[in-house]
């Protein structure tokens, strides 16, 4: 009585194809829906036979609908794929026969009452707009990783036997690949387990290695929690922390930075692309200031890596953090770039892996996956970022236009290609998120109510928002699998959701 995989996948694939608005290749759908292309090919050829799909040839060829999605019902689709029957055989006249007949007719009724269009629009639709929190692993990345769980790579990269050696060769290839991408030297790339670890290593490692020069560290007021918390901990260890403010768009106040750097300043750490409001800092200028004053400069590029060009041979950057799970790689891998000659103390002591900076047996499959993910992203850099920017600006423009009392947070143009952050007056973010979730939309908020500390987002306060404005903020972050139809779906749902809660609010416009 279970619906077959064929039917479930068939419906999913069809919904995806309709969502793409036009012709779509098997490869694309297989990627979007994580269904193998061979299997899809089988399903689609059945749907073609039934007249539901047709093949289009040519460069942009692939499958397209051959029917009107407003009229074609799920019954036709299911019938084309399998014979779904809930009946006792004819000869049977048991007590339960009528039950099965009822189920059968109910089943048919339901299927014939839902059209393909409704399937796409229905509340079961799921639109993930929280890519800045984490991304799914690209199927191609996963495939690249799988062999590295194998026996032949079982060795510790530090072991001298065959398996250890082959593992360590793989790691060196990965290191080289990142060196190429960032225009750095392979020995300047350290693999870690998370951006949080990289950032902790920088703050604590630079602090303790350069104590003799001074105990003053500068960060921005819009850093990620892992930098803020590391800095707060260093304060308890006798270091002095200064925070540089940002303007209303989130750009660092460079004059203030210049004035704040002292003789005993040892590190400046500024986030590159902000995770909440998307503002991209001018690394060249900040790097120049730090370089002129002989202070180490670190940037957390977790969000910006593969979204903003980063040529380390041209920028005065001494340390840089990048992360795997923000770019369709697996969780549990990240990197830390450390320019040759930088004085830093390791956080993890032990077997001396990663040039002695980070002892720990390397997570080989994760490093391989991270590398593959970065390679894919860099190969599609221009095209994908241009696509995202177009989608981003389309959404921003339409949201601001259709929903009164809404305000964009962050810089309008110096902005991550995938980030949208908007405040809506007189509503609260957590309730918005929960309601959006009913429509299958995943987003995030800077509202105090949704944070574990019940404190509003420090980033939104830093750009001058009042607590009540940060309350009603939503972040939508787009990604590789976000389509125009996802965007249109959001534009359809969001105004209803905002209106619902504005009607509930004691404050009226």
């Amino acid at each position: 009585m279970k619906l077959s995989t064929k039917t479930r996948y068939g419906l999913r694939a069809l919904a995806n194809l309709i969502g793409q608005d036009g012709c779509c290749s098997i490869k694309q759908i297989s990627k979007n829906e994580h269904i193998s292309s061979d299997y899809l090919e089988k399903i689609f050829s059945k749907l073609k036979k039934a007249g539901i799909l047709k093949v289009e040839r040519g460069a942009t060829g692939g499958y397209n609908l051959n029917c009107d999605p407003k009229k074609t019902t799920l019954k036709e689709v299911v019938n084309a794929l399998e014979k779904a029957e809930f009946i006792c055989p004819d000869f049977c006249s048991c007590q339960s026969k009528s039950v099965w007949q009822k189920i059968q007719s109910g089943f048919t009724n339901v299927l014939s009452s839902i059209t393909l269009n409704q399937l796409v629009d229905s509340k079961t639709k799921s639109v993930y707009l929280d890519y800045a929190a984490s991304t799914p692993v690209d199927p191609e990345v996963l495939n690249t990783m799988l062999p590295y769980f194998d026996f032949s790579y079982a060795g510790n990269t530090m072991s001298l036997h065959q398996m250890g050696t082959s593992a360590s060769q793989v790691v060196e290839t990965c290191r080289q690949s990142f060196a190429n991408i960032l225009n750095a030297l392979p020995k300047e790339i350290i693999f870690t387990a998370s951006a949080t670890e990289s950032n902790n290593t920088v703050l604590k490692g630079i602090a303790f290695a350069n104590k003799s020069k001074g105990k003053h560290i500068i960060i921005s007021s819009i850093e990620h929690d892992c930098v803020l918390e590391s800095a707060a901990w260093l304060k308890t260890q006798g270091f002095e922390i200064s925070q540089i403010s940002v303007d209303k768009d989130g750009l660092l106040n460079l004059d203030e930075l210049k004035k704040t750097i002292r003789k005993d300043t040892i590190l400046v750490s500024v986030i590159h692309g902000n995770n909440e409001i998307g503002t991209i800092q001018d690394l060249a200028s900040i790097g120049q200031i730090c370089h002129d004053r002989g202070v180490y400069f670190h940037t957390d590029a977790s969000q910006s890596f593969t979204k903003v060009p980063l040529d380390l041979s041209k920028l005065n950057i001494d340390l840089l953090t990048a992360s795997s799970h923000k770019i369709y790689g697996p969780k549990g891998a990240a990197l830390l770039y450390i320019k040759t000659g930088t004085k830093i103390t390791p956080l993890l002591h032990g077997g001396g892996h990663e040039f002695g900076i980070r002892s720990s047996t390397l997570n080989l499959p994760a490093v391989v996956g991270f590398t593959k993910a970065a390679e894919i992203a860099m190969a599609n850099f221009d095209q994908e970022n241009a696509r995202l920017i177009k989608l981003r600006d389309y959404l921003i423009k339409n949201i601001l236009e259709t929903i009164p009392d809404s305000h964009l947070n962050g810089h309008p143009t110096d902005r991550l290609s995938n980030n949208i952050n908007i405040s809506f007056d007189r509503v609260e973010g957590e309730s918005l998120l929960l309601e959006l979730d009913y429509y299958g939309i995943a987003a995030s908020t800077g509202s105090a109510c949704s944070s574990s500390s019940l404190e509003p987002s420090h980033v939104l306060l830093a750009i001058g928002l009042k607590p009540e404005q940060s309350h009603g903020s939503l972040r939508f972050s787009l990604g590789r699998f976000t389509t125009k139809s996802d965007a249109d779906y959001l534009l359809k749902v969001l105004p209803q959701v905002i209106n619902k809660f504005r009607a509930l609010s004691p404050f009226k416009s």
């Binding site: 509202s447 509930l504 004691p506």
Partner: protein
Amino acid sequence: MYTQKVLEHFRNPHNFGSMDNPDALGQVGNLACGDVMKLYLKIAKNKDGQDYIEDVKFETLGCAAAIATSSVVTDLAKNKTLTEALKIKNEDIIKALDDLPTIKIHCSLLAADALAEAIYSYFQKTNQPISKELEQLHQRIVTCQTRLKH
């Protein structure tokens, strides 16, 4: 993280909206995150001549828990005499919702406070005696709010 009951009240809140010419109004803001709840009461006399809550409406700016607790407190208060209604504690609200995450307990206080404030203002308006307990509660709520404004 929320129980089914919370989600039900959140999605389809009971008795929400404003009220024309309410007999009593309670407005409270919450210290922890600056959320606001407004509760309107229509008060009538029952056959024993006691004041009771004939109708109640709420408006809330806040999280799902704040909306759900507002909704449930209106349910609990409706048709109760004022004396009975004053006995509704935030534990009752939490129980009616099958539970609340610990971090959201303050939202249920918000709802209970709004009700108490509304009744307090009604007693004041109609020159009815105010118990020592209610007076203390009122003082606590007011100090919370003034602190919030700073």
